[in-house]
């Protein structure tokens, strides 16, 4: 049985069947339609620092954010994140950062907060997610604030 491990609720790590995990994540996803702003517990400034931190598998390796005028050579593989807050709710953003494979199994977007279905992970990174729960919230908070200036 495939297991989805989620480190949540502080330091408690839970292991749940993959199918249940999928349902949980989709619940979060659909909850976004009911209340698009119900995820609101991150720190945007901290999220910005995380995004620029190359040790944290930075979003900028693949994505571009036009407001980062001092950042050189941002990636162009993934979608432009400059106004991503206009296109996706916080819940949608968080889902994509957590594990975009739940929406598209073939995506090359790394799963930033999932341990499921990973192969030959380096010893240093075994049983560790790319982001911590707090980092996930911080980055989500920052990205959701990226909106077109009106």
């Amino acid at each position: 049985m495939q297991i989805l491990r989620m480190k949540c609720l502080g330091d408690i790590q839970i292991q749940i069947p993959y199918g249940v995990g999928l349902l949980t994540v989709f619940f979060i996803f659909f909850a976004g339609f009911l209340n698009a702003e119900n995820v609101n517990f991150g720190d945007s400034a901290r999220g910005e620092r995380i995004i620029k931190d190359m040790r944290k598998a930075s979003c900028l390796i693949c994505h571009k954010i036009s407001s980062f005028i001092n950042e050189k050579d941002m990636g162009e593989i993934g979608p432009d994140l400059s106004n991503i807050g206009d296109r996706l709710s916080k819940n949608d953003l968080m889902l994509r950062i957590m594990d975009a494979r739940l929406l598209n199994p073939d995506t090359i977007m790394p799963p930033y907060f999932s341990l499921s279905n990973l192969n030959a992970v380096g010893q240093e990174f075994v049983n560790k997610t790319i982001y911590t729960e707090q980092e996930l919230k911080d980055v989500t908070e920052f990205l959701s604030g990226l909106k077109e200036q009106k």
Partner: protein, 253 residues
Amino acid sequence: MKNIFIFVMFCVYPSLACSDDSVKSGYQFMELETRLLQDDDFLNPGFFLVEVGEKYWNSKLNNDGQACAECHGNVTTSMKGVSIEYPRYDTQSKNLINLQGKIISEFTKYNNVSGLYYDSEPILALTALISLQSRGMEINTVLSEELEPFWVSGKKLYETRRGQLNLSCSDCHVDLVGQRLRGDLISQGHINAFPIYRLLWGEPGSTHRMFEWCMNAVRSEPYSRGSTEYVELELYLMHRGNGMISESPGVRR
């Protein structure tokens, strides 16, 4: 019916005309400065390694041993075209062997030297010297019946996602070629210039060191240099690069 055919061809032709599946060396994805460094044998830092290789070619590693030159003679003639024939099937061991593995086995046999590190100076330097003799020659790896199972394993490794970032070699070097990953243009990931002098390392390195670097980059557990898995991957990549010209010793960012 004829109109439908014309319409379909009208839609399809531009995409056919634009598609470019040809093999391209990493050289074509490099900055001009790096290209110029590779083009000039006097400036190319890989040639320091070739010089060291000449020293090892003509000398023995211990008093009881034999120098390569004693049996093989002039490297420029005896080793022409040899490097692009590796990895090959070794009938004695009934296993796949690459050039570095062959050099190590020759040292063990004729110089009674064992336990040489895969990327040790004599091995890497001789690999560079021997590979230089095939520079300008076309890679044409023929998959024999013996080689095919190793090629299949290499292909599987190439296409399997690994590591915390969950990426395979093909995710980048097939699907995203020509796109920008931070400051780098993603190449097709060919190995026609190895051993290379890598600016990022500040020293020369082997194909297996590059594989290790990539696996570390996706936060995956690397295999050891010289391992069967890496030699199989090397075979897959050599075959994938058929039609390309050998550039060893190359320079890469």
